[in-house]
Subunit: 188 residues, 2 copies
């Protein structure tokens, strides 16, 4: 089981880390002992939307071959969705069986064509921008379409991460991870 966490300049760090924390606990809490991941970017240097520098593991390498790919959001998605080089790189994830976004990461999945004919969601402030890319924009915290899972804004990343933990390893694993994270909340 190998995950690609996509990171890029101008992303919102909590979009990424809110998902990364519960999901990487699959490894650190020995739930899926062979769970692996890489931080994948199109460029060698990455900083979030407030200047925080995060080091990618691999830069500009194809995303095919992973079992899941995760895409965070951030203001820069408004430009990146029209950046042919970035979207071309993201399209190398076409064969990845589980594609996941939080917040405006959905615009990037959309621009890559992955949301065509699908229900999807994004940050409540970006519903309109998402519409051209999918069948229906759903006002829901998490929209699970099987091979495509999208979630709401920024902090929805934690609920999304726990949802994926549950999908991969069951409700008991989700509970254990949430308890260790001291996270008592659940989407209503």
């Amino acid at each position: 089981m190998k995950a690609a966490f996509v990171i890029f300049d101008g992303m919102t760090a909590l979009d990424f880390i809110g998902f990364y924390d519960p999901v990487t606990r699959l490894k650190s809490m020995s739930i899926i002992p062979d769970f692996e991941w890489k931080l994948c970017s199109a460029t060698r240097k990455v900083a979030d939307d407030r200047g925080l520098r995060v080091g990618p593991d691999v830069a500009n390498e194809p995303l095919a071959g992973y079992d899941l790919v995760f895409v965070p959001g951030g203001w820069s998605t408004r430009d990146l969705q029209r950046d042919a080089k970035f979207i071309g790189w993201l399209k190398t994830a076409a064969t990845v069986p589980l594609k996941i976004s939080v917040c405006t990461g959905a615009l990037l999945l959309g621009a890559a064509g992955f949301l065509e004919g699908r229900r999807a969601t994004t940050h409540p402030g970006a519903y309109k921008e998402l519409m051209p890319y999918c069948r229906d924009v759903v006002r829901q915290r998490i929209v699970d379409e099987g091979d495509i899972v999208t979630a709401g804004g920024v902090a929805a990343s934690i609920d999304l991460g726990l949802h994926i933990v549950q999908r991969l390893s069951g409700a008991g694993a989700r509970e254990r991870v949430a308890r260790q994270m001291d996270y008592p909340y659940r989407p209503g």
Copy 2:
């Protein structure tokens, strides 16, 4: 208004980012336009407890002169609390008027002597370890003692960040930030 975000090898990234996101919105959402911050570490290179590399802004510089200092937790706090060099560096924050921790970051504030005679909290799995450093360990999500604020485990960092936004800029600002973060929860 200038904040020092302490980062260190083996920290839990969500402890840090869950606080960093709401608090730095004081700047990005123009609530406190001159709000500034630095990522401060004792060493030049920092990676979280799962290998994620984060770049500090300043390394091994004194922490005096900031208006607030924030310390995240992570497994490495168990060693760092006995690391004379690290704790000596942390003690340079003695005159900082607002000292804040999440999770086992409280063990580091404790080892620096900042919790003496105080009520404090930490990750529910570390209550016993915190006892020697403070007057009372309180089973509460956030313990605000005025100049010292401690919070529970990992994801309590978001509630803590919003609490500090409210302390600095009021309940309206907290609401605006939480809405932008798409965070509908509040500690019970």
